[in-house]
């Protein structure tokens, strides 16, 4: 027991023993602990304080989803004919054992929903391989904001307004379709184009990847909703048609101003861009008409979007200040106005307004953006005019 090593070990043992007994006797006194301790609280309260683990990546079962409508089937057939191939789908209702199913030449079945008389819904089979590919791309590219389960609440999605889409709510804002749900092409266009002024970027992904992601996103609809609901309408992007104001843009802007503040009553939610004193003259209304207070500010509106179970409110944009999400050309604006923004206070105006009025509105809004946005001096002039005499 005389070697230095042994002595050292003995010393260490004694030291440990002493320290341990001190500790056991609470010799060092109680911990100087603060009254409030955030450390555990934060960790447990925040839904995304913990890193994700064990995320399933493989989908073993395919699913039936609403096909993007009869048009899609005709389109597919035409495409095939153009390439000199046999059309993929038969249009013979007596096919498939007389059940009236639509069968493609590879045995690909388009079911017909015949629960109700005269009601047709076309279904599309999405196989597990494609869903798995889509799932993986979704997890890799989309999940940081939209969440690993597509619940719109990924780690980067928290605190984010406007909040990322929860795909289980099957509600899409900027798809520019009249029906409830967009076609695949509309969704693909949106992903490729992105939404200005938000972290939804234009995605540099290949067509194939985006197709897979779109199929996966569709498959996130709960049973009986969205793409699993036979009754929802699926439509393609609103056709802009012929521009009635071509060559007369200045008149369009003038007319648009009237429509904006008059027929369409846009200023009920969006700001008005004319001083309330001048409005009666512009709209041929009685001098004593009363407009809403603070007409130069937009009004916060309810929406159908939920974040963590709570409905969020959405502020209609002030075109001279906020960034327009989905394009600033008259064409883009026409599409947005005509189709409305799903789930928000913005209705689809197509049908309610004439084509001329719609185009005029688009020109007017574009003019507002061009004239005032990011131009502090001009905007200051405008705001002074608007607030005059208030």
């Amino acid at each position: 027991m005389r070697s230095p090593f042994t002595q050292l070990v003995c010393l260490a043992t004694v030291a440990i023993g002493t320290l341990s007994s001190f500790k056991a006797l609470n010799f060092f006194g109680s911990d100087p602990r603060a009254d409030e301790d955030h450390s555990q609280m934060i960790a447990e309260e925040l839904p995304h304080a913990r890193p994700p683990r064990g995320v399933p990546l493989t989908i073993t079962e395919g699913t039936w989803l609403r096909a993007p409508g009869e048009e899609w089937i005709i389109q597919q057939n035409e495409l095939a004919r153009k390439q000199g191939l046999e059309p993929r789908f038969t249009e013979d209702p007596s096919a498939a054992d007389g059940e009236g199913a639509w069968i493609d030449s590879t045995g690909f079945i388009q079911k017909r929903y015949d629960e109700e008389e005269d009601f047709w819904a076309y279904w599309q089979w999405v196989g597990p391989a494609q869903l798995t590919r889509g799932r993986r791309d979704f997890v890799q590219f989309c999940s940081s904001c939209h969440g690993l389960d597509g619940d719109g609440y990924g780690r980067s999605g928290q605190w984010l307004r406007p909040s990322p889409r929860d795909f289980r709510q099957t509600n899409f804002k900027f798809t520019k379709v009249l029906a409830n749900l967009p076609t695949d092409d509309a969704l693909k266009r949106l992903i490729k184009r992105g939404l200005d002024g938000t972290p939804m970027l234009p995605w540099d992904l290949s067509d194939e990847q985006i197709t897979d992601i779109v199929q996966y996103i569709k498959s996130l609809s709960p049973e009986g909703m969205g793409w699993r609901d036979p009754f929802t309408g699926i439509g393609s992007i609103v056709e802009a048609g012929e521009n009635p104001w071509a060559g007369r843009e200045n008149f369009a802007i003038k007319h648009g101003e009237k429509v904006y503040h008059g027929v369409a009553q846009c200023m009920l939610c969006h700001p008005g861009y004319v001083n309330p004193r001048d409005l009666p003259g512009l709209l041929d209304q009685p001098e004593d008409t009363v407009y809403r207070e603070n007409l130069y500010l937009p009004v916060l509106k309810d929406s159908e979007y939920e974040v963590l179970g709570e409905k969020v409110k959405i502020l209609p944009p002030d075109f001279t200040f906020h960034t327009i999400r989905s394009g600033q050309t008259p064409q883009d604006l026409y599409e947005t106005i005509a189709s409305g923004i799903k789930g928000t206070a913005m209705p689809a105006w197509k049908g309610s307004l004439s084509e001329e009025d719609l185009w005029a509105l688009a020109y007017y809004v574009q003019d507002l953006v061009e004239e005032y946005k990011d131009k502090p001096a001009e905007r200051r002039g405008l705001m002074e005019r608007l607030r005059e005499g208030l």
């Binding site: 980067s156 002024g197 972290p199 937009p298 916060l300 409110k313 502090p376 905007r379 200051r380």
Partner: protein, 281 residues
């Protein structure tokens, strides 16, 4: 030494530098038809310090490099192996050689490194790390929240306090007044980002879990660039924004509008949207 220092510093910061800058930036840029070989001119009050130090180091390094190349070339041309030619037998271990080694390396160190070091220290103390006090009325504070792949900026609004309804929220766009120090506190939701303002000659990492601070004082109004300089994943290259520096009067009007729109957008029930933190002094 002090005189030489001030003399050279004077030369570097004055006409000489400007001439160089003209050749280096505008001249080449024009000649290349919009293609540039240099950064845009600085727009912050300490931006010129970068260029001065950069060109000082460049001149010193160029001299050193020329010496090295000469010392490579001369033996290459003069001392090539040929019949009858013999190398000089020299271990370089005499006292003289040792002294020479020490003198030359120390001299190089003093001329090259110590000089640069002294200027850099001065710059750091006077500019980069000389954070303005926020309670000074003129300092404009900004809270930055980085995320994959966007920048969120929160201005205090009219009441000058964070976490109130009139806060100004911007995304990928930052609007600040000219001629006032702008003070940043920054953090990130998810991964590390880095706020890079090339025209302001400043950069600071935006780390999750802690708050980082930086500042600068814009001295020119206009539109500038915000980039992310730290790899942050898939769309790192798309994480850029726009910095608008406004004249004070334009800014006042803008701040009022933005603040009012902030109030209009304020939803007291939506606590999630209020991510501001208390400004750290």
């Amino acid at each position: 030494m002090n005189r030489i220092n001030s003399l050279l510093a004077g030369v570097l910061s004055s006409r000489w530098m400007k001439a160089l800058a003209v050749v280096g930036m505008a001249g080449v840029a024009e000649a290349q038809g919009g293609n540039r070989w240099a950064p845009f001119p600085p727009a912050s009050d300490f931006g010129h310090r970068f260029s001065e130090l950069f060109w000082l180091i460049t001149i010193l390094c160029s001299i050193s490099m020329v010496i090295v190349v000469l010392l490579l070339l001369i033996p290459l041309l003069r001392d090539r192996a040929r019949p009858g030619h013999k190398a000089n037998y020299d271990h370089g271990s005499s006292l003289h050689d040792k002294r020479l080694t020490a003198v030359i390396s120390l001299a190089t160190f003093i001329v090259l490194d110590a000089w640069v070091l002294a200027i850099a220290m001065k710059d750091l103390r006077e500019a980069y790390w000389n954070m303005p006090e926020v309670d000074q009325a003129e300092t404009y504070p900004i809270e930055v929240l980085g995320q994959q792949w966007a920048w969120h900026f929160r201005g205090p609004g009219l009441d000058g306090e964070f976490g109130t309804p009139d806060d100004i929220l911007e995304m990928n766009q930052l609007t600040i007044p000219k001629g006032r120090p702008v003070s940043f506190q920054m953090t990130s939701k998810d991964v590390i980002h880095s706020l890079f303002l090339p025209e302001m000659r400043t950069k600071k990492d935006v780390n999750p879990g802690s708050i980082n601070k930086t500042w600068f004082k814009p001295i020119e109004a206009g539109e500038f660039t915000i980039l992310c300089a730290e790899l942050c994943g898939y769309a790192h290259y798309q994480m850029f924004g726009n910095l608008t520096v406004m004249e004070q009067e334009d800014f006042d009007e803008w701040e009022e509008s933005a603040s009012l729109l902030g109030i209009a957008a304020y939803d007291p029930e939506d606590e999630e949207a209020q991510w501001a933190w208390e400004w750290e002094e």
